[in-house]
């Protein structure tokens, strides 16, 4: 078992109460594997305590990237959140901590 950090890098952006987290394969050959394993449903479960709304996944095969949009994920929005990381800038690291089996 390894984590996504071994295969991909990631960046978080914020708009209001919505967080977007990109997941970009280091090697284009691993992109199909990310598509198979890192589904919107798995990401929703992974972030169950954080993303209270819908999770949508967008695929960008030419960039070898997935883009996850997590609604109601920033404590009511950056401007009124009580969280230490109100922007959710650290959420990319949480996504990269997701485990992925070796035989996917």
């Amino acid at each position: 078992m390894r984590t996504l950090r071994a295969l991909a890098h990631s960046r978080t952006g914020d708009k209001g109460d919505t967080s977007n987290i990109s997941l970009i394969a280091y090697d284009a050959a691993d992109f199909p594997l990310l598509v198979r394993w890192v589904t919107a449903e798995r990401v929703k479960v992974h972030f169950a305590e954080i993303a209270l709304g819908q999770v949508t996944r967008y695929e960008l095969p030419r960039l070898g990237a997935l883009n996850f949009v997590l609604e109601r994920a920033l404590g009511g929005g950056v401007t009124r959140s009580l969280a230490l990381d109100a922007h959710g800038k650290s959420l990319s690291s949480a996504l990269l901590s997701m485990e992925i089996p070796d035989d996917v």
Partner: protein, 444 residues
């Protein structure tokens, strides 16, 4: 021998700031030795303008970015000498006063005949009060429409050396010089989308040259303490090359560019700006040299019919207190501390709408499940934060954390406490016809 193709016209943009408090030296480097035609400073976050509006209410001469003066003092002379024009949204809630201040700085520096344009008209609070009063929050402070590139293009056509705006979409600050120089048609959505994409890539400055990116052992970046800010070369067809100055820290790679391309994007097929709807579906990034990355394949669709408005309002106060514990049993003592504060707030009748109690170093960022609090950390910081109706109630949060010094678990130290007013931001929309930007000129 094949004929040499006619050199395509290229416009060079530099990013001088990614937010108001950003470093200033990288902008000085670009002004002094960057091969650039424009230096763009993006300085407004979502709620900055609401805070600036409050400042303007206190003093009508203020309400613009507090770092604008230092930035202009640092770069104006070099920009003038080298023919670099400046575009910035640092006018915040008061572009006219900002322009007057910048003209004053230019005169002090002996820069005669400098044309400073202030873009006005993003403040639509009166429009909304007339047309949609019932939808405005009770304690509204400000309502600013995200203007597009047009008024900046007009200012540049009028010969502006410095253009100072209030609320303008970040990407428009960069698209405007491209449209002005390259003459792209108003309905040429694909070229405009490429220009907006160039702006999107550059608007956070260091975030595309290695900032917000380094992860030692996985994504190493050299020289983050002297990070260079990015430049983009954009040709007539909207082909983009992102680069940075030789000899500065950081790096421009397909990885930094891909991360920034998707930053704050929701549906990549419809990244909405006031100027154009950008489609990144077929975007590609490729390394074309050392610290040189080409971004191609962006397309565009018609711009939206309405403009987004950022509405700022007062929404109560946040009080916060923190205290640290260390050594054996630190986590248990910190948890006890949190329990005590919760109970104290209950006993003493402190009213709050929402309360959060975290252990910094254990679960503050991502909650219980993701943190899988396993090995005991050597030290931990208990943090209580709550949203209250009044400043006076909010102050009680930190005060109760502070009383842990003499009333709480063993070895609690390093209390900090704070109170801040919440200026919350929500979105609304207005018709384009309801927004009438104008330009005010100052010539030194």
């Amino acid at each position: 021998m094949s004929p040499t193709p006619a050199a395509s016209r290229v416009v060079r943009l530099g990013a001088g700031a990614g937010y108001s408090g950003d470093r200033i030296e990288p902008a000085i480097e670009l002004a002094e030795r960057g091969e650039i035609d424009y230096l763009v400073f993006e300085c407004l976050a979502e709620r900055t303008i609401a805070l600036a509006q409050l400042e303007r209410q206190r003093d009508p001469a203020l309400g613009y970015d507090p770092f604008l003066e230092a930035r202009m003092r640092a770069v104006l002379a070099a920009c003038r000498r080298r023919g670099i024009r400046v575009v910035t949204n640092a006018g915040a809630a008061n572009p006219a006063s900002a322009a007057a201040m910048v003209a004053g700085v230019a005169r002090e520096l002996g820069l005669d005949g400098l044309r400073v344009a202030a873009v006005l008209g993003d403040d639509v609070l009166d429009v909304l009060r007339r047309s949609a009063a019932s939808e405005l929050p009770a304690d509204v402070i400000s309502a600013n429409a995200y203007l597009g590139a047009e008024p900046i293009i007009e200012a540049l056509a009028g010969g502006a050396d410095v253009v100072i705006t209030g609320r303008v979409a970040d990407s428009s600050l960069f698209l405007a010089p491209l449209v002005h120089e390259l003459g792209w048609d108003a309905s040429d959505w694909t070229r405009r989308a490429r220009g907006a994409a160039a702006g999107h890539l550059l608007e956070c400055a260091g975030q595309i040259t290695g900032g917000y990116f380094a992860d030692p052992g996985v994504k190493d970046v050299e020289g983050l303490a002297r990070l260079g800010f990015p430049m983009a070369e954009v040709d007539e067809d909207g082909r983009i090359v992102v680069t940075k100055l030789a000899g500065t820290g950081g790096c421009v790679t397909t990885r930094t560019c891909t991360e920034q391309l998707l930053y704050e994007v929701h549906d990549p097929a419809a990244y909405v700006t006031p100027d154009v709807t950008v489609d990144l579906t077929d975007a590609r990034v490729s390394e074309v040299g050392a610290d040189r990355v080409a971004v191609e394949g962006v397309t565009g669709h018609e711009r939206p019919a309405t403009l987004k408005v950022s509405v700022g309002s007062r929404e109560g106060w946040v009080g916060e207190g923190q205290i640290s514990y260390a050594g054996p049993g630190a986590v248990a003592r910190a948890r006890l501390a949190l329990e005590i504060v919760r109970e104290r707030l209950r006993i003493t009748g402190v009213k709050h709408h929402e309360l959060r109690a975290d252990l910094v170093g254990v679960d503050a960022l991502h909650g219980d499940a993701l943190s899988r609090a396993g090995a005991e950390p050597y030290e931990v910081r208990a943090r209580v934060s709550a949203r209250c109706e009044s400043a006076c109630q909010a102050r009680r949060i930190g005060d109760e954390v502070e009383t842990l010094y003499t009333n709480g678990p063993a070895g609690g130290g390093g209390v900090s406490k704070s109170v801040r007013e919440i200026v919350a931001v929500t979105s609304a929309f207005v018709g384009r016809d309801d927004v009438r930007p104008s330009i005010e000129w100052t010539v030194t």
